[in-house]
Symmetry: C2
Subunit: 221 residues, 2 copies
Amino acid sequence: MNWDPAQFTVDKIIIADDHPMFRDALRQAMSSSHADCQIIEAESSESLRLQLREHHDADLLVLDLNMPGVEGFSALAYVQKKYPDLPIIMISANDKPETIMHAKHFGALGFVSKSASIQEIRRGVNTVLQGDTHFPYQFNEQLYQKLDDTLAETTRQVAELTPQQLKVLGMIKQGLLNKQIAYDLDISEATVKAHVTAIMRKLGVNNRTQAVMKVANIEIH
Amino acid sequence: MNWDPAQFTVDKIIIADDHPMFRDALRQAMSSSHADCQIIEAESSESLRLQLREHHDADLLVLDLNMPGVEGFSALAYVQKKYPDLPIIMISANDKPETIMHAKHFGALGFVSKSASIQEIRRGVNTVLQGDTHFPYQFNEQLYQKLDDTLAETTRQVAELTPQQLKVLGMIKQGLLNKQIAYDLDISEATVKAHVTAIMRKLGVNNRTQAVMKVANIEIH
DNA sequence: GGTCACATAAGACCAAAGTCTAATGGGTCA
DNA sequence: TGACCCATTAGACTTTGGTCTTATGTGACC
């Protein structure tokens, strides 16, 4: 590494991670290259919110993905919206390409896996501190963009269903027959069939089995 | 804590975790209470296998769940079978009750979440080193036993399918018609129907939609 | 040589799924 | 008052799904 830490000053870094051991390790790693840097710790999204209010002048936020109290990327989205100028680097044990892509799209300037070595993590942090972005080079965005697009499309399609159609779709997922659905909703089987046809048309599928697989992992509200 | 580390000697501990930072932190935590203890590190299931061959006399294995190269609990099952006398404590970022229960059932003597404080982790490790078991007290085994049972039952049922039936089930999941399946497998539709009937009988469902939902999140090999 | 599991298949039959057309009524919005 | 969306339904029709019975061939295992 031909990079010199003295080239720029770092006054304050916030580390948000619910694993005390990881926070400790990261603090040590950071203070060895930035001796006079103040390190703020947050162990939950709530404490992160409080710390940010006090330390909105920080140079960097190191954010863990799986913090309790936040569903997925909502913490990232929240911080990004409220403090647009605060650089964020995400650190996560989950380094699937989808995750990295999401981090990128939600405005993180960098991403490092927790599986990375201390040197790699430090390099990623320093790169972002210098104003650059830092993502694992192995991952092919185009490739996973498509996967993500299909999920997004499905979500859009489901959103186009009418309330009654959603109900019916939910019951199809339970393996109910049209007849049973009709009885439970107190409507005729003909109506159920009409709904099913409409559902399949909107989802772009040809039968209920395909419909079920398409929304298998989507919550029907 | 009214517990005295000098009460027993600890010569050798193996730490298996793919996060270098966590390994460092844990090593530090351990060496502070067991100064003369040798700490062996493994960063993958492969290196764990090698280290175990050399250090099968270790006093404890601290095992991370999400190591690359092992699907879920296979590493735990492997070690447990090959070295039945080696105490194992699991450490994981995923501390869902199901996970804890699995660890317990696969023979781990303890479980601590990575979200726990260093003191808690150290206490868990020491408890297991003393020959006791250590699991989070909050978790209600009976409650999650049931959830787990249904998943385990499904897995058992899928395991009873013949190779050809597995193929057919996989194609059903793709929403193919019996006719299409017959064409693709170059068999008659009657045969496909026979397979489908057998599949549904073994899975304990009444139609293909229910079958699909039942195995929606199971990989069909 | 006999048993067993598996894959294959035909034919008959009934139930369920899905399409199309046409029609009614309620609600909202301009 | 229309235009429009949504929910509802009937009737006729075709296709698909699923059961049951019966039957053949093959390879493994003892």
